[in-house]
Symmetry: C2
Subunit: 204 residues, 2 copies
């Protein structure tokens, strides 16, 4: 990685963390360049504007998660095993990047709608789930279900767990934390998806 | 409602909207009292401090939703029909009060954890779901499931729908919006919960 790529990447990383904490209007270019150890002109040089950097943060994050989900969807195995891999990918992604949904939510709080840069990401994620369900139906493994609904169930539970659920042991709502709480929630979501889509759940 | 109660209620309502938009530190007492058409000393008079008003916002919101869920849980009918009523209550609540989850998320963004004032609310909601599942098991209607997981599934999907899902038609991810999208998501969540808990889903 050459120096310029390095600076660009650092700007995106630091901007992502800062925007997640304080929203678009709550973060200045000076703050971002300082955090990225770049000079004050670096945002203009690499992106053109603070707004363009902000969009680049969503594109980079969206591309990362969508690529991982497409890999999980394209793996060999049954439809249920690939849906399980998609759920695991979502839980892993949001565990590594709990700031990701906060970025979206600042935009919702400020503008009343999710950022337009999110649309291609949502489409690609939906297509990954559609692919698995279509192939699962072709093999008579899954029943007729709306891929949008299955995708929504997976994403909503993974995101809310990253945002609030993972704190339940810390605030005493889950009695003891032996570290297994996250795994239990993920297993529960997988099992609920399996029961939602599996043909055998209808006609064993 | 006398004048003092009225002022107190107005302060909570306006504070709730403002804190949801800008977080605890992003809102001043002057801004709240102006929005509530109260004098500058009203926050101190009614609550003691801005922090105490902030806690009162969570207590009032939490009490509202918990009371509705307890009513749904105590209704006559099968366990599945009461779980359906709980899901409906959650979707209705967050449709009426989409600012509610934003309040929580500002606190997560600012402090790294959900607000302590939320704990009694989470407990009461969990107890409502536990009650329905316990009674459903006593009538051999539902299988052995973890109430925490069922409650988590319901809440996470209702909250994420209120925050982001309801915008999917507007941003073009859902092809047409004939107004039925919210109803479809709610029906999907109900059906997924039914398949998760119902004994017949195992042994028809």
């Amino acid at each position: 990685m050459n120096h310029q790529t390095d600076t660009r990447t650092r700007l995106i990383t630091e901007a992502r963390n800062l925007f997640a904490k304080n929203g678009f209007s709550g973060v200045g270019v000076r703050e971002i360049t300082r955090a990225a150890h770049a000079n004050l002109g670096a945002v203009t040089y690499h992106f053109g504007s603070k707004r363009a950097l902000y969009d680049a943060v969503f594109v980079s994050m969206g591309d990362d998660i969508a690529t991982r989900l497409e890999t999980a969807a394209a793996a060999p195995g049954s439809a249920v095993s690939r849906l399980k891999a998609i759920v695991h990918t979502l839980f892993s992604f949001f565990r590594e990047a709990p700031e990701a949904p906060l970025l979206i939510l600042h935009e919702v709080a400020a503008t009343g709608a999710p950022p337009p840069a999110l649309v291609p990401l949502i489409r690609r994620n939906l297509q990954a789930v559609e692919r698995v369900l279509r192939e699962g139906r072709a093999h008579n493994e899954v029943r007729e279900v709306d891929p949008m609904m299955v995708a929504f169930s997976m994403i909503s539970q993974a995101v809310w767990f990253a945002l609030v659920g993972r704190f339940l042991p810390a605030i005493g709502v889950v009695p003891t934390d032996d570290g297994s709480f996250a795994a239990r929630v993920e297993a529960h979501v997988v099992e609920a998806i399996r029961r939602s889509v599996h043909r055998e759940a209808d006609t064993p």
